[in-house]
Amino acid sequence: MLVTLDEAIALIKSGKFLHIAGDEALLDRLPEGNWIGGTTAFFMASGGGVFTKEKLYVDEFDFAEEMKVAAYGKYNVFQLVEDCYENGLNVIIMPYGSEVVSKYSKEAPEVEELLLHPTIGWVSGLDLNGDGEAKAYDGTTGKSYTDKAVVMFLKLPEGKAAQINLINIFEDDKADPVITFPESSLSVESCLVDGQELNFADYIDKKGIDSGMPLVADYNGVYLNISIKGIENGRVDLYAPVIKNIEYRFAARVEDYEKEFLARVNAASSVRPVLCCNCIINYLNGNLEGKKIPPFLGPVTFGEVAYQLLNQTLVYCEIV
């Protein structure tokens, strides 16, 4: 729910376990308490998609029995697998452009036991004018970070489990050639297309590929996206890294982004998310400003985490 600064302060003072998203100027004014937060000025609110620096978005985690918070840098971010509750939910917020995002995004797919510990979250960002800094907040200490991930560990009652899922409008075109990459990287020069080594930027150019379409990888029937950030001087920069040995194809063209996104949301409208994050590209390309997409409420983000870092995806968690 979107709340005023005073309402957020009252919620914090009540001792509730909270996840808060908002503009840096507001987050900086919150008191210490049982909360974590991240910067964004775009939200999926009950009244519709909205850009605001006047309000904060708050989720209350009243399903949890206990919580603890930790901040991690690039050298120890996967310590979260050791630190979490045996039956819990981990909510991670990482600042956009930080080395911890880079580390997490490249290595999470290979981290032992990460899939046994439900981990959801988002990459905090800026308004699109570039004002301010992307930050993650540890409300328990009152500290904010531009270079660390903040994780809230939530302990679930016995007999309950966290189930993370996603909404993605993209699928691959199986007729397209398979693209693989020699290394896990956020910036790519060479690739293998059906086994032939090529410059990835040249390949995109010569094939006339719309770089607004993400690369997608098929994870046993679930499609995960890698969005292209830019192409310059023969290099392709990405919002999430391609992973070595994963097979990618470009997404099949989506003719009407908004219609497709809303159709997928409607198809999933019976779920009961306790936390939800939606990509800024979905917000912008799906024309979500002013549009209601219940039951999916939460921050609009600069990268989404459903165990690993994703792009152009809506992620959510239910307690079952």
Binding site: P109, L115, L116, P118, G159, A161, Q163, I164, N165, L166, D218, Y219, N220, G221, V222, N245, I246, A306, Y307, Q308, V320
Partner: protein, 72 residues
């Protein structure tokens, strides 16, 4: 894990059978283990242990998958 369910999991991990769960983590795990088996075919048993570990940890979530996979 034994009998038909074990046989079917081996077929899923080797790509012989296709099964997509409604659980994201389970699909990610299957995908990861499929790649592991391609790289090291002798790792089937350890992969099955990983599947079993997931199922034991999340019986509530995996119950439906077990029923579905046994019926394949």
């Amino acid at each position: 894990m034994e009998g038909k369910i074990r046989d079917n999991f081996i077929k899923i991990l080797s790509g012989e059978l296709k099964y997509t769960s409604s659980n994201l983590a389970f699909n990610m795990l299957i995908s990861k283990l499929q790649k592991k088996i391609i790289a090291a075919p002798e790792s089937v048993d350890s992969c099955l242990e990983e599947i079993e570990g997931f199922v034991v940890k999340y019986p509530l979530i995996a119950k439906v998958d077990f029923v579905n996979i046994a019926a394949l």
